[in-house]
């Protein structure tokens, strides 16, 4: 239950490796912040810096107005959930949760009360006397959460807590963590490389790459308006498709395929000086449409896609194809009548395409936005 300011944070492990570069973030009380990015992007480093497990190279960490740079981990009043749980293997569930409270010299009955409450919330009552070895992956994860809960710490830090669970359990624990946050309202920083977790859990999402923040915002905002090519390709699965082509006479030419741009889009791009220049178009797999009605009304943005591979995923079908050697994936409703090698007319939903500068890879803002 605290706010947290990260100001101009740098971290280098030796002279050459910069793990985090000028990281700035104001986290409000009760927020659930998700840091997401590929492995090695510096997201876990941020967490370890906030916890005090590593020292800052530069910058300030401020919790509730107090500068924490030189405060020992045990005095920062934070709780940490580790990727591999990091339970105490020689202690049973009860003592795993009680250890932190004992270290802080809580009275015995208070410890008892808190541990019992946490085990109830997490459905661990039956396992109180078991050691971690005798628990399933999901139960271990719950104990790790419990160890954080009993402490009633100001800030929760979670480092890919679900990455060791299988897909089903991951989905279930995701929901449990969301419910837990709704209940406890503890300020949380959650690190993951899984974009489903990022999209579903965050009140605000921080996308990182190479130690630098790429975009901060609500999940929907980041999904709908990615600030650059990296964010567009990292968030969303399958990834956003990108085509590089030349803008000329109201059309975008990708090899020998031409896509007619809406008038306002074209005008805005011209005003920003992209006429007759290379430009990158981004479109999400689900923004290709194969319905007859849609195709009939979108003559300007139709491509004839040769189906290279078809993947039937239960409720939907993925089509792998290419435009002028640039591969893309389209996501259509489940249709079993599509055949390998078939030519399939697809329309791009031109209200949902994105444009990026070819060199900087940054989003080009259009008038409508």
């Amino acid at each position: 239950m605290a706010d947290l300011k990260l100001q101009h944070i740098y971290k280098n492990y030796n002279k050459n490796v910069l793990a985090v570069k000028d990281f700035n973030l104001d986290i409000k009380d009760r927020e659930f912040i998700v840091l997401v990015g590929p492995s090695g992007c510096g997201k876990s480093t941020i967490l370890r810096l906030v916890a005090g497990l590593e020292d800052l190279s530069q910058g300030d960490i401020i919790i509730e107005g107090k500068r924490m740079n030189d405060v020992a981990p045990k005095d920062r009043d934070i709780a940490f959930v580790f990727q591999n749980y990091a339970l105490y293997p020689h202690m049973n569930v009860y003592h795993n949760m009680a250890f932190g409270l004992k270290s802080r010299k809580f009275p015995k009955d208070e410890i008892d009360r808190r541990v019992k409450e946490a085990t109830q919330v997490l459905g661990l009552e039956e396992y109180m006397n078991r050691k971690p070895k005798a628990l399933s992956g999901g139960q271990r994860q719950r104990v790790a959460l419990g160890r954080a809960i009993v402490r009633d710490a100001k800030i929760f830090l979670m480092d890919e807590p679900l990455s060791n669970l299988d897909a089903k359990l991951r989905a279930q624990m995701r929901t449990e963590i969301i419910k837990l946050h709704q209940r406890l309202q503890t300020t949380t920083i959650y690190v993951t490389h899984d974009q489903t977790e990022a999209m579903t859990m965050a009140t605000r999402l921080v996308v990182m790459n190479n130690g630098v923040i790429q975009q901060v915002g609500a999940p929907e905002e980041i999904y709908e308006k990615p600030e650059n090519v990296f964010v567009g390709s990292f968030i969303g699965s399958p990834a956003m498709n990108f085509f590089t082509g030349i803008l000329s006479k109201g059309k975008m030419h990708i090899g020998d395929v031409s896509i007619v741009l809406p008038e306002r889009t074209n005008q805005s791009l011209h005003e920003q000086g992209y006429a007759n220049k290379e430009i990158t178009l981004g479109i999400r797999p689900e923004d290709f449409r194969d319905e007859f009605a849609f195709i009939a009304t979108s003559s300007g943005s139709i491509i004839d896609a040769k189906v290279e591979v078809k993947e039937l995923l239960g409720a939907e079908t993925l089509i792998y194809s290419q435009i002028a050697g640039q591969p893309f994936i389209a996501r259509l409703d489940a249709r079993s009548d599509i055949k390998q090698e078939q030519i399939l007319p697809l329309a791009m939903d031109m209200n949902k395409v994105h444009f990026f500068d070819c060199k900087t890879e940054n989003r080009i803002s259009l008038d409508g936005e």
Partner: protein
Amino acid sequence: MDLLLNKDFMQQFLSPIWLSLKIATLSSVAVIIIGTLAGRFLARKPFKGKAIFETILMLPMVLPPTVVGFFLIVVFGRNSMIGQAIEWIFKQPIIFTWWAAVIASIVVAFPLMYQSAKSGFQGVSLDIEEAARIDGANEWRIFLFISIPLASRALISGSILSFARALGEFGATLMFAGNIPGKTQTIPTAIYIAIDSGNMKMAWMWVIAIVVISFLML
């Protein structure tokens, strides 16, 4: 059977056994304490010259026991600073006393304990120690309640190895503490002398005694 009832004979038979147990126990207690602390300290902390420091610690394991004995004589001998200091404090030199046997045992057993302890502590997941640190435990509490219990298997096996090594120590002890019956004669030196003087019966009895002690340890 007559022999076992003979008091002098029993005295002669038991004296090296008691002495061996006393020396091995004393030296392995010292080794376990120092080895555990050194193992824990050096398991995680990198520092300059650590490799050289560790090589010196491990040398007694690689060098022949007579070389270890030789260096002990040089270091603690009457001509060295340390030797002279000891002689001034205790009014007698350490060489050829049972304390010399204790020192010899400590020097040869220490590397075993240190190595076990170090690899045991290195086997403790860093995450678990960090979790305890965040959980509010200070370093002493972490050492006592996290590191030691989790490294306990390695610590116990290191302790047993150290005790066995101390109990069986022969070369360095023979040179540094000598082989004075009732004063510095341990089981291994007693067996040597018994064989040398053709007393196979005594040799067998001591061999059986040390094998029994070894098995009791396990």
